[in-house]
Amino acid sequence: MIRQMIMRNVMFRPVRTFITVIAVAVEVTLILMVVGLTSGMLSDTAKRIEGIGADIMVQPPSASIFMALSGAPMPIEIGQRLAQLKYVRTVAPVLLQFNSTNSLDLIYGIDPESFREVSGGFVFHEGHELQNPDDILVDDWYAKGRKVKVGDTLHVLGHDFHIAAIVEHGKGARLFVLMSTLQELAGAHDKASVFFVKCNQPEQTEKVMSAISGLLPHYEVRPLRDYLSLMTSSNLPGLQTVIRSMITMAAAIGFLVILLSMYTTIIERTREIGVLKSLGASRAYIVRVILSETTAMCVAGIVFGIAMSFGARALFLAVFPTLTILIAPWWIVRAAALAILGGWLGATYPAWIASRKDPVEALAYE
């Protein structure tokens, strides 16, 4: 009976129901998109770093695992000392630089030979290796997203580069230039941001890491096999706060809309509440009716929100093909739980007011 009454109430006021459902859907979509974008980008970055194929990554003391956040403070000669360690097959120094011309892109300055030895080399879709100082390699996702092709000029870091090749994605960055060129542009002569170390025998990685730590005390020495698990928002200072803030804002939208919606509906239905009380409905019964109605609208909003999230993801990916958006089942559950919880919290006060209405006054309400 309560289910029938709730469904009739919800259908009886279609505009109010529609607005409430949309608000909850926006809340769910916001949560899923914010988390999906951040976790997608982190996961994508991690996979690309892992895709380099190195066993160990060496960074300067106190460097972030988010390599782009670190500068280029390490002398390039460190690489030669690392290469002399037992079980080390090869060392590839990489200089990292963020490009903010036209867009935000991470650029790897590489020594083609050592980078090939560590990573196994690029898979070329089209074009050739880095040869000239102005050559740049772009990966296939970047080329598709920016609609560029071999031979085009690419303006990054305030410099015009010539696209020498389009390569398969998954080797750390989406843009690669010669290390010497990037050192010149960044004013970081003979410096590197990170060393990727490849071992002769992967099972000796721990020993090599110990040796590196002995050689370079306080330097950050990390195995790349753990990299994916380290790339979480909680390891990036401030990101977790941003995500929490966005989620709180999204939940606040749902809470406030439900509060307003249910409050106005309680006022509008004052006489109905008086009728329920005259029939002997208890306070608990009235609270249950209000909360059940809220739950019904929240569930509709959640379903709509999940659909909207997948739609938004498809739209984003169509416009920005290089993006990765992860809509994880666990976060769908969490977003749904947040929406329901926010809805209940928003409906609690109106439900409490309704349950405490004086039946005589409620029946006299015009």
Binding site: M5, K277, G280
Partner: protein
Amino acid sequence: MSDTVHSGIDICDHDAREYSAETLVSAGETLEPILKSTNLWKIYQVGRVEVAALRGVDLEIFPGDFVSIMGPSGCGKSTLLHVIGGLARATRGKVLLDGNDLASMGDGSRTLLRRHKVGFVFQRFNLLPTLDARGNIALAQHIHGDGFDPHRFEVVTRMLGISDRLQHRPSELSGGEQQRVALARAIINEPKIVLADEPTGNLDTKNSENVLGFLRQLNKDLGQTIVMITHNPEAAAYGNRVLHMRDGIVVDGASAN
């Protein structure tokens, strides 16, 4: 007695437990009044002024009575109905409804008592606009807690002549039909007493006669105890006893012989 309602029957209702209900006291078959008020006062606080709507009402209603209460506007008729029906609490005095003292009961116990012993009929019908006629009647059964009783439902709706109107919402029913649905809702749980507040106040003459006829039929055929408030002497004449109120008291006919 505070928040405890006494019952002569087992209450199998889920909400009843929250008021720690025990058993209802039932009045004797016919000798005891089903409703008795003694020196009943109801005073409203309007700003800093106290307004006495009831000023010591003494009243006895017996099982099977059909009592009409008449009086000018503002004499306290509706207030009396609200107090004896447990919708409002008396300021002073005593109201015994089927042996339960309403005046000393809390909100929860009065709610329980309304659910099990009282059926209300209002001037403005007060049907839920979102539910159809069937839903409005079934809602009372649902709140009562015994579940949907199809046999009782069939008997009541057929008796009131609304069997073929059950799929319609209130907005699709005439005033007379709406009031008959409201009447069905009031009696569907076999209350000890039906309290009707100007049940024909919003109806034309023909529909008024219909509704009053049904009330009389309920009283005569089923022995339903009814208290009806009305301005209309012709409507009042349908009852077997007429009381007159003035200035918050019953001026005549308060006790039946």
